[in-house]
Symmetry: C3
Subunit: 139 residues, 3 copies
């Protein structure tokens, strides 16, 4: 068993890949096992997504921004938790919809990711943030 | 390794926090490890959300009610599984969209939750229910 | 600890149940433990859903098709990643929204699924695919 924490700096909404730092940490275990990631915030998410075409990441961000627009949008005027600005409550809504934890089997120190799968921190807030992702590996 | 089951009584749609009963059970293990929760139903969900301002919980419920309205809403007339009433199929849709399982690393008997993170049962049905959440802890 | 991989053939969008092959593999372990499933693709998902009325599965597919329509729909014209056709980017969007991994406690070789819960591969692409789901069991 091993545990660590990853720190990811964000500068506005969108996807931030951190596959390689996770892969390096898992490789150091060089065993079969299970990796679990858990994001310690309620306004960003973890997603596994295609890492080939960067347009996929832009399109994901664009879709979720339209599905859950800022509270400055008239269609969202029924929401009340707006203390931290128009991106506050939509961030919580997206954090409920998209994964807070991910579990990925590991074989001989390699996560069994598909060919095009990368691991991303999906930031939902406008302001820069430093995000923490707790990691657990069990052999 | 240890396993248990939590029982959560609900009285209509919304978020029901049960962080403290989980924390107590995990504390009794007093070890590093991994906690996994799994909800044994297809019409409610598990979410990790902000536990500071109760308006967040109300807003979450309001958003998902609008995103997936009851089948009595004309926009949902294409749905066919309505045996148990207008909140039946929307509950299944929300149960697919929001987590059925959560995994949270544990350090020295404490879940590594962020400052504002609480664990909630998100009830999607109108009638009162007794919900079961299976828990697994591995050291 | 044990690991395997399940192969699921799909022929268009919708839910494909594979509960029984998972149950058989877990039963062969005949122990308490934790099962984790991870789908190795970014255009399909894993869901736990009702396995009683097949209309639930049709309704789920219908709802998510309306929530995230093909890029041939004018409302989706802002999306740019359309290389593989109008079902390409919507599949990625649904793969972010619906689970990529699931964890289910196991007692004496049986998953603690609720009475009506089944495990499904949710295919988001139109063309036939062979999908891989990695499985990990830890006692």
């Amino acid at each position: 068993m091993a545990q660590t924490r990853f720190q990811i700096s964000t500068s506005g909404p969108g996807l931030y890949e951190f596959t390689s730092v996770v892969a390096d940490w898992v490789a150091a275990r060089s065993l079969d096992g299970l990796l679990t990631l858990f994001v310690q915030h309620t306004s960003c998410s973890l997603v596994v997504q295609e890492n080939a075409d960067p347009e996929v990441q832009d399109d994901l961000q664009a879709f979720y921004h339209r599905l859950v627009p800022p509270t400055s949008d008239p269609s969202m005027s029924y929401l009340r938790h707006t203390y931290e600005g128009p991106d506050d409550m939509p961030a919580h809504i997206k954090a409920a919809m998209l994964p807070v934890s991910l579990s990925i089997p590991v074989q001989s120190g390699r996560m069994v990711l598909g060919t095009w799968q990368g691991i991303y921190l999906f930031e939902h807030r406008n302001a820069p943030h430093s995000r923490r992702v707790a990691a657990h590996f069990s052999a």
